[in-house]
Amino acid sequence: MPPDAINALAQYTVSGLTTGSVYALLALGYSLIFNATGIVNFTQGDFLSLGGLVLYSLLVGQGLPIVVAFPATIAIVALAGALVERVCLRPARSRQMIILIFITMAASTLMRGLMKQGWGKLPLALPPLSPDVPFRLMGAVLTPQNLWVMGMTLCGIAALAWFFRATVTGKAMRAAAADPRTARLMGVEVERLTTLSFAFAGALGALGGMLITPITSLSYDIGLMLGLKGFAAAVLGGYGSFAGAVAGGVLLGLFESYGAGYVTSAYRDVLVFGLLILVLFVRPQGLFGATGRRA
């Protein structure tokens, strides 16, 4: 391969892994809520927007140092996630899936309205986590932010994995996902864990938003398309499976990046969603999804 082609390949790989990481974070959020409630939560992308916007306010508006602003943002958006569950879904009069899904869609519209109100429509510039000094690695030009995205995503996934394997609450959440009724009989407070799942989904969205918006741009509706791609990643990997969510996110990010680079950038979304639909035709349960789940 000529050096130019190698450089291009490396570049596409880096950008694919970067967006793929964010898709993976979002897909994990979708899977968490699916396991807790069985529904798709369409506010997941709005958690991402909110994360970026809150961090912007804390950093630029309040002048807080990043080490304070970063965890504070995660906490605030986690709270917003818990609120979505408590205020919108808990009081719902119907347990029908389609109604609950639509409640999250309405909540998403409402959230976007609120964010537009609070932060305006114009794009904002969120500074990257560390000074922007590009460097070369194997022919690709990287910014430190690329590394932050991938590194923090890995940390987030590791923390989540630890939580689910090592803590009692994590084990209770897995039990509640596997069989809510039995879990309840064993003394697991399923309702509180559902709220906690939404808080976690909010935190994951916030993490994605704080990492990716310095690269893309920051506005109240940035999470819309990213949220849909995260949903696609969750479906690709197999809805509800954590390994599947991560794999689906990375695969989708890479495929999108290669597709846009080598085939067509105007039709990149056609490629992405076309691939997804093709995969579903061959494997209706996603790549890593088990058959017979309550999907």
């Binding site: 699916f34 798709v40 919108c88 009081p91 719902a92 009069r93 119907s94 347990r95 029908q96 899936m97 389609i98 109604i99 899904i101 639509f102 409640i103 869609m105 309405a106 909540a107 998403s108 519209t109 409402l110 959230m111 976007r112 309205g113 609120l114 537009k116 109100q117 849909l228 949903f231 696609a232 479906v235 809805y239 105007a266 039709y267 979304d269 056609v270 969603f273 076309g274 997804l276 639909i277 579903l280 035709f281 209706p284 349960q285 996603g286 999907a295």
Partner: protein, 359 residues
Amino acid sequence: MTAPGTAKTKGVAPASGRHPLLTPPARRFARGWLALAVAVALLPLALRSGYQFTVLNVVAVNLIVVTGLNLLMGYAGQISYGHAAFFGMGAYGSAILSATHGVDPWLAMGVSACGVAVAAAVVGVPTLRLKGNYLVMATLGFNLIVDVILVQWSEVTGGSSGFVGVPPLSVAGMSFDTDRSFYWLAWGVALLLLIPARNLVHSPVGRALRAIHDSEPGAEACGVPTASYKVQVFVLSAVFASLAGSLHAHYLGIVAPKTFDIFKSVEFVTMCLIGGMGSLWGGLAGALLLTVLPQMLGVFEEHHDLIFGAILLVMLIFMPRGVSPWLRGMAGRMRRGAGVGLGGGGAPGNGPEGREARP
């Protein structure tokens, strides 16, 4: 209750040996339908501005889509977040055929509907095998793909700025190019299409669709060809959407891709939900409410999302069955009182709206 004998059936009624002129539910539907027709005919007397006609025309176009979508969602229980794509394909098919290739608008409308039927079958066969979230994603993805193509294939579709110069529909030299004249056409078609939809719902096929909604394995075990019925009703509802899209294009003379994105699909589904799934009259209420309400909220401009989202949220939380139970109660009271009223659109008693999925 056997074959519905409503006049002007469109071939969906099964051949039945004995034909009472109208069964009681069919009579109720006929009364409601006539009441609506009279209301549609009289309403122009009360309307002042062209703007009011415009809004009602949009209601009629939306009603056509929602009627079709209701067959799929309310009766067969299959979700589609992709109907704006079929709506768009109808609109662009009509626009490109009639404006670029000089085909007669009516023919363009028919050809587009046939094309959409084929496309829906191709998409539907593999997609409708999917369940739950996978079906949601596949239909959303389909809509996103069509949307991107409409924007990017600009030499044919006019790109993101839209396609201009679509000729109006006309009959015998009279063209439906004003808000007033189009009102008659749009509502005429919407009213007409309610009849085959109603007859389908009350046919053996309609009952089979409701059985699919209840339990697919159960329906299968009773001999219902579930896969083929699901695809057929999907195609039918796509054709409804395509016809509405064509009307939309010939009415406005301009089509823009933004009208056919996933938000439009979500809007159609919301109309079904707010009206009350599994009730054709509910579909009318949903189309009316969700077309007029945003127009009224237009006053708030910047706060539109906020207020619309909040209203939707409250309605979905506290009135998950939509407004159709109210309508039915009202119709019942009116029937007892004056002997006329709406009703019979859904299936009273055993309609799918009474059903709740287990948490």
